[in-house]
């Protein structure tokens, strides 16, 4: 189906645009700067890239669009030589190449600016850049070249400043200058605007356009549709590891791009209608300053979840999901006391352990290291959250009880492992997730909070986990699911809200929603829920 999709969309590109994209400043038609043919990459449980074709012309700003997990990062790692494709071929300016390492990629003329910067805080700008260069260069000469590049592209950076004093935008400039010093002919930008202010975004776009005019090709990874429509010549859209379409962004609407990104082949909902019970989780005007400089602060979040319903929160990671999870689980405390209520009791100033006693169970997004201690065996990992469920008595860990608890969890959720004494780190991602979800479910929660329930989990285990959540709902538990997978949310949620830039939309019955609307909301185009609105009962 997606093959058809891609063909029809390619044909929608006007011929004039295509020829422009294949023409260098000199006017002669040449091979594309970079061409990928049938690139596939398979990891243990998922196909990250499935027969991807992509062609970037000289001087073209080419958007790579897709939800998280669609395969953008894997594809860029392949282009930059960080990983190797299983099958498929690459051509660089018409000649076949195999890029085995980032330094080989840099030698060809490929530069990459990563989403999170890799700079040493205690070194100066020039020292940081010198470290990353493949050639040795005297400091003075390097400073001159930095100044020359920064003047030419409107990227003011002082070579002798220490990095720790630089703003996020300035740090990004250092990264870009670092790439430009090697005179790249293809520049890969990974979510470059996710950390920038609107003004800094303007400056960045000016720089990128100037580079494109000089013939530098730019691969621009993003999920911000407005930016892509403004900046990019061509967009390739990925979904589930495949190319779901190619488009001229300026000729598309946000809704049509979102449809390509999200897809409309959603599974039938398997929820039996059910009247929800009383409010179990209430968030009222919850605001939280993010502790992470790259994080997103929450603004005035309002949400109510009732017993016997599943509410989903859609949105792309990095829009405040981590902060919202921490605020609900108690890992981050926020004032006032009424901002978080669990089962009718104020919980905003309670610790995670106190919230657990109020009936909250929580499955975090990171399984190893947060949801489970990697080096400990599964029985000990049950004690992590099961202290209140009889696994600790009079200050002593009851190892017999925790082993029995682990054994029962393994049996009930068909966790594949060597037994309850297997270290958590020895389990595959999907099995560990089944174990953690199972452990929390067996603690008999009143409110269940789950982040990315099936992220990286194979199809069979995903079904088990989703069904387990639906069973919880049918048993009258309030379930809140935060996920990036829209298909999944549409399949299991009674109501859906969208988190974008730290603001939460109203939670609307899923039956009244189409993915396109959610896709548009994911860009932040919605009226946030207000305190009274979120408390309205969910009708289906």
């Amino acid at each position: 189906m997606s093959q058809e999709h891609s063909r029809t969309n390619v044909e929608r590109i006007p011929k004039t645009v295509r020829s422009r994209a294949n023409t260098v400043r000199g006017g002669t038609v040449t091979a594309p700067r970079l061409a990928l043919r049938g690139i596939s990459k398979r990891y243990a449980s998922v196909i990250a890239n499935d027969a991807i074709d992509l062609s970037v012309a000289a001087g073209e700003i080419h958007a790579l669009l897709g939800e998280n997990g669609a395969g953008k990062s894997t594809l860029m790692k392949i282009v930059y030589g960080v990983t190797q494709p299983d099958t498929g071929s690459m051509e660089w300016e018409g000649a076949p190449v195999a890029i085995r390492s980032p330094s080989e990629a840099r030698r060809l003329g490929i530069g990459m600016v990563f989403q999170h910067f890799a700079l040493f805080e205690s070194l100066t700008v020039a020292q940081n850049i010198a470290l990353a260069l493949d050639e040795r260069m005297p400091t003075l000469e390097l400073a001159e070249r930095i100044n020359a590049v920064s003047a030419r592209y409107g990227l003011p950076v002082a070579p002798d400043r220490l990095v720790h004093g630089l703003s996020v935008g300035e740090r990004q400039r250092v990264e870009i200058v670092r790439c430009l010093l090697q005179s790249p002919r293809l520049l890969i930008m990974d979510e470059p605007t996710s950390v920038l202010t609107p003004q800094a975004v303007r400056v960045l776009f000016g720089t990128l356009r100037r580079l494109a005019e000089e013939g530098v090709s730019i691969l621009y990874i993003s999920h911000k549709l407005d930016e892509i429509r403004e900046l990019c010549d061509v967009a390739t859209v990925l979904r589930n590891g495949r190319v779901s379409g190619t488009a001229i962004p300026s000729a598309e609407s946000n809704a049509s791009l979102a449809r390509l990104m999200v897809g409309n082949d959603l599974k039938e909902c398997t929820l039996r209608p059910r009247e929800p019970g009383s409010l179990r989780l209430e968030l009222t005007d919850l605001s939280l300053e993010s502790a992470d400089p790259f994080g997103t602060s929450l603004e005035q979040i309002n949400l109510g979840v009732r017993g016997g319903e599943i509410v989903g929160i859609a949105g792309v990671s990095g829009n405040g999901q981590r902060e919202l999870l921490a605020a609900i689980s108690g890992e981050a405390l926020c004032a006032p006391r009424a901002a978080v209520r669990l089962c009718g009791k104020d919980a905003a100033s309670s610790s995670p352990a106190a919230r657990r006693r109020l009936g909250l169970c929580f499955v975090p997004e990171e399984r190893l290291g947060r949801g489970a201690v990697p080096a400990m065996h599964l029985a000990d990992n049950c004690v992590l959250t099961g202290a209140g469920a009889g696994l600790v008595r009079r200050g002593l860990v009851r190892s017999g009880a925790s082993r029995a608890f682990a054994r029962a969890t393994i049996a009930q959720f068909a966790v594949k492992c060597s037994g309850e004494l297997a270290p958590a780190e020895s389990l595959s991602g999907g099995n560990l997730q089944k174990f953690i979800v199972g452990r929390e479910i067996r603690l008999a929660p009143q409110v269940m909070l789950v982040a990315q329930p099936t992220w990286g989990v194979d199809v069979g285990a995903s079904l088990v986990i989703r069904q387990a959540l639906i069973d919880l709902r049918d048993a009258g538990v309030a379930v809140l699911v935060i996920s990036e997978e829209l298909d999944e949310l549409f399949a299991i949620c009674d109501r859906l809200a969208v988190l974008a830039r730290g603001r939460l939309s109203a939670a609307v019955p899923t039956a009244q929603l189409i993915p396109e609307t959610v896709g548009i909301w994911m860009t932040g185009a919605f009226e946030p829920a207000v305190a009274a609105g979120s408390a309205a009962p969910a009708g289906r």
Binding site: P352, A353, G369, G371
Partner: protein, 339 residues
Amino acid sequence: MRLASSPLAALAMLATIFLTLSVLGKDPVAAFKVFFVEPFGSLYGIGELLLKATPLMICALGLAVGYRANVWNIGAEGQFTMGAIAGSGIGLFHGAALGAGALPLMLTAGVLGGMAWAAIPAFLRARFHTSEIFTSLMLVYIAQLFLSYLVHGPWRDPAGQNFPQSQPFPDNALLPPLFEGVRANGGLILALVLAALSWWFGSVTAAGYRMRVSGLAPAAAAYAGISPRWNIWLALMISGGAAGLAGILEVAGPIGVLQPVISPGYGFAAIIVAFVGRLHPIGIVLASLLMSALYLGGESAQIELQLPASVSGLFQGALLFFLLAAELFIHFRLRRLRA
């Protein structure tokens, strides 16, 4: 392979001793005899081995509890000193009046003194996120200067001909030897009991479990609702208290008087002991015996081979160095990169 790092490091250290002695022009075989055989040829020698192992063992057991929980108390030497001062205060000024109650009270005061000194880095870390590595280390020097002030000033023995030391402890404030002919005392029994207790704490109690989680996966500790402050306080109270106990056992045992220098670096050597013992109680008991042997061998090498006193420090350092190197090469492999 992971268990092999400590024996490997000990072997490499022995090779270093061998080489160093050869370079210094000593007959290595004879020197080895002086270093590792002669000191332990008598009952008295064995007693000295156990005597010196005691403070190392107690300090290292406490430190290991904290290290497993990711709390890096480097200042056991200072807590050792403050424990000795606090316990000596009781012994010197109330010892005679307390009779049989003197020693238990002195030991308790020693533990509390060590804890109080460790409370400073604990508070600074829990309240201001100050690195306990630096604060605990710097407090060592303050403690040593405070001890020096006391024995040069207010606590100096008026009948001591201006020697910087306190009055000798009354007899009921001194630990008796385990039996005739050795200097090792009841502190050794206490240390072995503490080793068993530390094993029990780490593997059975919920508090020990929470500290292990905090050390292995801080994010999982936050997820489980384990308070990081509680973890810091508990770790520093345990390691500080243990070091304080070792301090008072030392002055109420072999020294018998408060003087400017009461430790040949036991608090620092205990860090090496904790790691060579792989932070495990049994390992620590064995490692403290090895370290004690190094101290004694160094002493006899000074006397019989006219080697400088710093030679035992050199070998202690070499031991830790080789241990770290062994760990590195067990976990990582050297690879030649083409230019």
